[in-house]
């Protein structure tokens, strides 16, 4: 079987600290600028106002703005905003991702501080192109005064992808927008030969694993203090 390495955040920090500057990733960005009205139209419905469980309101607002740039809402459909990736991260920071809570406290404040110092506005208030530039500077460790910014950027990107493509049970991938974006046809308990043909795309099932009666009694915890939070055991 494979040996996909799973690292603690602390190890990730160590590893990235060691090599981070040496592996600056070349980035070509082609962004599609849209007005808020365009975005609202694409979303179909307005995202519910954020109520954060773990993050402060200010942190939550900054995080919302970040995920909206990492996986934007555009002509290719809904993005991390509609998936509620920020809400997934917020909830997980009170549970399975609790070891990252402090990194978010420090990192979000540093990011916002950097935006204000270099662009004279909070990150959330910057235009999209400027937000992208800030994120790119974090990613490439070129944000003056923000040591270790690439580590924090990688954490944000990893968690935003989780929040957009994980089982909706965890609070992200709302309305299966992540799975629909990449054409994942969804959880099926049995798969027919016809569902494994080339060039086909089985119809999406749009169900969570825990919608299935068989697994509904052994749900993993989603946030702090829940029973059966496997990620805290041991």
């Amino acid at each position: 079987m494979d040996d996909t390495p799973i690292l603690t955040r602390r190890e990730l920090l160590k590893r990235v600290t060691l090599v981070g500057t040496a592996v600056a990733i070349p980035v070509r960005l082609v962004t599609i600028e849209r007005t808020p009205a365009d975005v609202a139209a694409l979303q179909g419905v307005n995202a519910a106002p954020a109520a954060f469980e773990t993050l402060t309101a200010v942190e939550g607002e900054t995080l919302q703005a970040i995920v909206a740039r990492l996986i934007p809402t555009d002509g290719n459909g809904p993005g991390a905003t509609e998936a509620r990736a920020a809400q997934y991260i917020d909830r997980a920071l009170g549970g399975a991702l609790a070891p990252s809570r402090n990194a978010y406290r420090i990192g979000l404040a540093a990011l916002d501080g950097y935006a204000r110092a270099s662009r004279t506005a909070s990150f959330a208030q910057l235009p999209g192109a400027e937000q992208d530039a800030v994120l790119r500077e974090l990613e490439t460790d070129t944000a003056a005064g923000f040591a270790g910014s690439a580590i924090f950027f990688n954490l944000l990107l990893t968690h935003t992808i989780q929040g957009t493509f994980a089982d909706p049970y965890y609070g992200g991938n709302a309305n299966f927008v992540g799975w629909d974006l990449i054409g994942y046809p969804g959880v099926r308990l049995a798969v027919a030969p016809a569902d494994q043909r080339l060039d086909t795309r089985p119809a999406p099932t749009h169900q969570s694993a825990y919608d299935l009666a068989m697994f509904s009694k052994k749900k993993p915890a989603r946030a702090r203090g829940g029973a059966g939070d496997h990620d805290h055991a041991g």
């Binding site: 190890e11 960005l29 082609v30 992808i161 493509f165 798969v191 494994q196």
Partner: protein, 568 residues
């Protein structure tokens, strides 16, 4: 002082792939067996198809004892330690890692048993890489064949034979050694992507075939056939189609009423008497320490814990660790050369969202000594394996093959088009043991009980690097023949904790270089047996589990036949 328990005939430390198999022939022979397992029972409804929990957050390994004892790693004694893995590669549970493994159930090829003599004969002694401590096994494939056969039937292995008593069948692996009969079940079904790769192998003149798997393809021994739902890797089977020992040999042994399973039993030491014989084991359960006396001890945890428990079990007779008076415990360690992957991007949807890692297509033309190495600068090779297994978080994290950034609108556009158009091959390659690759106790890092964890000192050598480069070329060739428009090669990495670890208690006739004899019993403490891949001296180019299981059955059968000699 530990609480003394009633004596038993055999105590097995660890009820996973190997211990879970050995329990059956012992119990069937009427021996009283206590199976000590650090984990708990897990059931079908524990195995939800949940990528975040299973694959990203490392459940169920994360809840287990092993996860508090993750080995440390350094490539060599002068190098800094590698970042410590957060998740142990294996898990504790009744059935162990057979619950959530890929279940690929290969027999080794004939060459793997005689690497030294066959290399000398064909290419000359100088072709054995410098510094390697590789030896021939004390027996050949034909000795292990009956035990492979027994295990294939007990746990239920599906596949297609390529060589039945010397008669070659091109439907199976034409390079495999002779087997007595066909697999008990036909192979897992093909899929569109697999058929495409099969056709491409044909255009190259290579022989491709479906791989063997401990996965039912029809109803077998009251368990149903695979339903290809896509969450087999690190997930466990929700219908028990996977032939884990937790649903095959262990319950069957329990039904004899000779096997008693003790869960959440944390073994700390193997106890040795004044004559240098193993007298039982100490374990902790629920905060209480127990001593389980036994006539015979079978050590069947994973490679790292087998070595660690021996080294921690010091006594007057064995001041440097049990069975270590020749300094061989922890030596001849190697981990499978599974790195150096190759990924490909195709101009069409592959639809590999479903299936399982064992549902795939193999090419063995470039494995072992199946091709002429006369003009090459390495020995051994690799098995090429492509399969249908893809989940959304993993797909979203795919390489963009240099065609897009890794976030933002351009990335989103790329991923929307290509999430279902990439594939990564699994390339298992020959790895040899070397003088300076070994396991010992970490001088600083301890587990919560205060015992040192296992330390790995190991790195790939020139032979492994050359094999990897050669095999990556072959895989790229195969993908291109199938129409790939972009190819990406990954690095070989280093030799940190892995699911494919070998050695440390190697099996062989020479007690100066091996810990256990040809039957799997200690050269130094004759009533101590060792099970698992820690006894294997070569890796082959394929998954180790079935070989570890065949060896475990053979060791158990030998114990039954030699009970009076070994137990008294």
């Amino acid at each position: 002082m530990p609480v003394d328990l009633r004596r038993t005939d055999v105590v097995i430390v660890g009820l996973g792939a190997a211990g879970g198999v050995a329990a059956l022939p012992l119990a069937q022979a009427g021996l009283d067996v206590i199976g000590l397992e650090a984990g708990t029972w897990l059931r079908a409804d524990d195995f939800a198809p949940d990528e975040l929990r299973n694959n990203v957050r490392g459940w169920p390994q994360a809840v287990q004892k092993a996860n508090r004892e993750i080995p440390t790693h350094r490539p060599n004694p002068a190098a800094p330690y590698s970042p410590r893995a957060a998740i142990h590669p294996m898990m504790n549970a009744v059935g162990g890692t057979t619950l959530h493994y890929w279940a690929q159930s290969w027999r080794l090829n004939p060459w793997d048993f005689k690497v030294v003599s066959a290399t000398r004969a064909r290419y000359g002694a100088s072709r054995i890489p410098r510094g390697s401590t590789v030896e021939d096994w004390p027996f050949g494939l034909e000795e292990l064949e009956p035990y492979y056969d027994l295990v294939e039937r007990e746990i239920g292995v599906s596949g297609k034979a390529g060589n039945i008593n010397g008669r070659i069948d091109r439907g199976g692996n034409i390079f495999e050694g002779a087997r007595a009969r066909e697999y008990p079940m036909p192979p897992l079904r093909g899929c569109g992507f697999g058929d495409m790769m099969t056709a491409a192998a044909g255009t190259l003149g290579w022989h491709s075939f479906p791989g063997p798997a401990a996965v039912n393809t029809r109803s077998y021994q009251n368990r149903g056939g695979c339903v290809y739902h896509g969450y087999c890797a690190r997930g466990g089977c929700h219908i028990n189609a996977k032939g884990s020992t937790a649903v095959t040999t262990i319950p069957k042994a329990e039904r004899t009423r000779r096997l008693t399973v003790v869960t959440e039993a944390h073994v700390t030491t193997i106890v040795v008497d004044s004559n240098g014989r193993a007298s039982g084991v100490n374990y902790i359960k629920g905060g209480t320490e127990y001593f389980q006396p036994a006539s015979v001890v079978l050590l069947a945890s994973y490679v790292y814990e087998n070595v660690r428990l021996l080294l921690l079990s010091t006594s007057r007779a064995f001041p440097n660790g049990l069975s270590n008076n020749h300094g061989q415990v922890g030596r001849h360690y190697f981990s499978h050369n599974q790195g150096a992957p190759v990924s490909a991007l195709f101009p069409r949807n592959l639809n590999t969202w479903y299936g399982l890692p064992a549902q795939g297509v193999a090419v063995d033309n470039w494995a072992d000594d199946n091709f002429d190495h006369a003009g090459l600068d390495f020995i051994g090779g690799g098995n090429l394996w492509v399969y249908s297994d893809r989940r959304p978080i993993g797909a979203a994290g795919m390489s963009t093959f240099g065609r897009a950034p890794r976030w933002g609108a351009a990335w989103k556009s790329f991923i929307k088009e290509n999430a279902d158009r990439a594939n990564t091959a699994y390339l298992q390659k020959t790895t040899l043991p070397y003088e300076d690759n070994y396991l010992d106790l970490d001088p600083e890092v301890k587990d919560p009980l205060g015992y040192p964890v296992c330390r790995i000192t190991a790195d790939y050598k020139e032979n492994e690097r050359r094999v990897a480069a050669f095999i990556q070329d072959k895989m790229a060739e195969w993908y291109r023949a199938a129409g790939a428009i972009a190819i990406e090669r990954g690095g070989i990495g280093t030799m940190g904790p892995t699911t494919h670890a070998y050695g440390g208690t190697r099996m062989g006739d020479n007690r100066e270089t091996n810990v256990v004899d040809r039957w799997g019993f200690s050269h130094e403490a004759p009533n101590l047996g060792v099970l698992g891949a820690s006894v294997m001296g070569t890796s082959g180019a394929r998954n180790p589990t079935l070989t570890a299981q065949a060896l475990a059955w053979r060791t158990a059968e030998h114990l039954v036949k030699s009970w009076k000699t070994i137990a008294s």
